[in-house]
Symmetry: C2
Subunit: 143 residues, 2 copies
DNA sequence: CGCGATTTCACCCGTTCGGGCGATAGAGGC
DNA sequence: GCCTCTATCGCCCGAACGGGTGAAATCGCG
């Protein structure tokens, strides 16, 4: 919904930028043919324009890849001795699910989830769900 | 501490890049003098090189400003109609504090905190603290 | 096979949380 | 003056959470 608008605006912006570059190149050719400026000046203008374009592209394009590229900090997980199931319940907690919902998700008893949440808290050294999320984020256990 | 290393590495990288550009320009001048290629090719190469440089610069420069500059999304707060106190308790929730602790922090009764948490949840359309944090983060109400 | 770690589940108990309802008091707008 | 918004607080109740203990079943490794 909102991302569609952003996408459309980005595409339109790209189109405008490309059109502007085409016009600029034509203009440069014309000016060069007219021999009003030195070649060095053309090159400098070209360089400046394309550096700016590049910076703009870089700023525009980076958020998506940066967001996409996350991998769990395996070293931290190993250091804490987090088991598979504890990571599962941590994921559930992070998504704001209740113990009962996590139990349904994993197909186990709510009592079991409680046990795993307790041992997870012990390993993270926290006493509340929100604190567990904070700690996990600080350790790059979660995005 | 760590940012100093990053700063040094960035400065060095810039210096290398500028040196490379100077060399490239000299080379381009030389090739142009030798008349081995057409002007259009020079321009295209120049454009490509500087676009890449610009993208690199953009990627390199954005993280620090983006991380440093966070300001609460006042428009979203206004749209939701969040009051001052509701923002206070939201901050407390985000920091993993219990209602009782938030009450102590703000110097009010736990019952009052409960009421404000309830109306905060209603405005955010959530039913649990973790979900409130998720929603607030999605709306840039919190970092 | 035997041992340790993991996973699973149960029960009890007290605290915290969330929903709902009502009430009072002050600030500000009409 | 009246009305709305906000902040404040109280009470009741059920659900969710957290702490503690114990105990099966399963699995991997030596």
């Amino acid at each position: 919904m909102a991302s569609l608008d952003v996408m459309k605006r980005t595409v339109i912006a790209y189109a405008i930028a490309l059109a502007a570059i085409a016009v600029l190149l034509q203009w440069l050719d014309f000016r060069y043919a007219a021999r009003d400026f030195s070649l060095e000046l053309y090159l400098a203008v070209l360089a400046l324009v394309f550096v700016v374009l590049g910076i703009w592209l870089g700023v525009r394009l980076t958020p998506a890849p940066r967001a996409a590229a996350f991998e769990a900090n395996e070293k931290a997980i190993a250091a804490l001795g987090l088991t598979r199931r504890e990571r599962d319940v941590l994921a559930g907690i992070t998504r704001g699910r209740s113990n009962k919902e996590i139990a349904r998700d994993l197909g186990i008893s709510p009592n079991t989830v409680k046990s795993q949440v307790a041992s997870l808290f012990a390993k993270l050294g926290v006493g509340r769900r929100v604190q567990a999320i904070e700690k996990a984020r600080a350790l790059s256990l979660i995005p």
